[in-house]
Symmetry: C2
Subunit: 274 residues, 2 copies
Amino acid sequence: MNKQQLFENIKRKKSFLCVGLDTDIKKIPEHLLKEEDPIFAFNKAIIDATAPYCIAYKPNLAFYESMGVKGWIAFEKTVQYIKTNYPNQFIIADAKRGDIGNTSAMYARTFFEELDIDAVTVAPYMGEDSVTPFLTYKGKWVILLALTSNKGSHDFQLTTDESGERLFEKVLRKSQEWADDECMMYVVGATQGRMFEDIRKIAPDHFLLVPGIGAQGGSLEEVCQYGMTRECGLIVNSSRAIIYADKGETFAKTAGEEALKVQRQMEEQLKAIL
Amino acid sequence: MNKQQLFENIKRKKSFLCVGLDTDIKKIPEHLLKEEDPIFAFNKAIIDATAPYCIAYKPNLAFYESMGVKGWIAFEKTVQYIKTNYPNQFIIADAKRGDIGNTSAMYARTFFEELDIDAVTVAPYMGEDSVTPFLTYKGKWVILLALTSNKGSHDFQLTTDESGERLFEKVLRKSQEWADDECMMYVVGATQGRMFEDIRKIAPDHFLLVPGIGAQGGSLEEVCQYGMTRECGLIVNSSRAIIYADKGETFAKTAGEEALKVQRQMEEQLKAIL
């Protein structure tokens, strides 16, 4: 999916919501545990209920890997289910990978060739040759960690170098030597508030993947105020606040309602540009 | 396995070699492709041939993930095979993970609870709460990326901050507030040469996991000269130069011979401290 198509989907759905499929066997409704594949059963129901209100899904690999082989099967089935039934949804593998060149190339093969996923999150610490193998697939995206939503983001990402540039700013600037805004996005946490202003000085047109709304406490209004571009430029993720809003038999219906609530807030924010 | 036990193994084997199980279906001998699980068949033969000469194995997850479910099965079987047949071998999941707290906790559960692996490599970019969930398991290790072996390591890891400290130095220093040398090691590439002197100023007693010998061109002598401690303090990894030394039917025998060559060089280096 290219940038233009992504924006078309946002305009059509009046939403830039990404639903995070952080599916934890310990947190899904009990009645699903009797299913053959409870994780997939949960995801399928959540996807069917939320698809009208979002433009992207983001399974976090950690949750699937924690279940070993069974988890990988559920992950692959989930990706396949979205691709078959909702082909306009942008699929992000939240994997935060990054390794030496030949190894990053293996990860890229997994996500882009084997699974045909649209985007993968990548950690920048190892530099250029750990990122570029992900950039050789046409129509696929790298979403590079820049300024994350967690408390630990302050430990290294805000370190200021001799020239006054903070590490996340260097990541934003340097990575633009490797790829443009047609195949790279950045992770910027919703908890970072006015830092979006600084981000937009360096990356005015890039899409940003924004976690941290909901359970982590970030504000959608603030993100939009400081981060939105003429082409939206934002994919805002919510995981726990949507998928675990209700732990009973009505979990999917409630998840749909929560997604709808967020979509309506987003529709309001989109009025500024549409 | 604790630090003392690791050193005991090094003294007993006169080796601090880690064999990297970067097993790629496209690179293993052709005759194995008719096996039911070619990846596991390859690993099993490599492990049996090299176990006398090494003290650790390091499967890189990328290579297994690239094969999806089949890859995960091969990975789990490999870990189980080492644990059952060579219980003194230190097993490192080279995963370079790191995510927000609750997600890192899921990764930790995978590697330490489900698979009972000894150590996992972790990327530091997201800071303290992305690392600490891995530190709650007694006898288990975090191996934090500090100064990696690839060219891209120069992009961010060598960035000097206002106080004159380079990013990898900050990672070494800051992370010692979270854990000591009984449960944390660092990745330092063999290609970094005299940088080991600088590393030892900040982390004088920590074990270092050293990739980059062999195919990547690092020098064992230089690593030992500048990086070895009284308790060795080094686990030196070799992957491609050992496991793909021979692509014919004698691949395992040749891998054993290559591992023996490295072990002999290590025995020589260990004379300085034993």
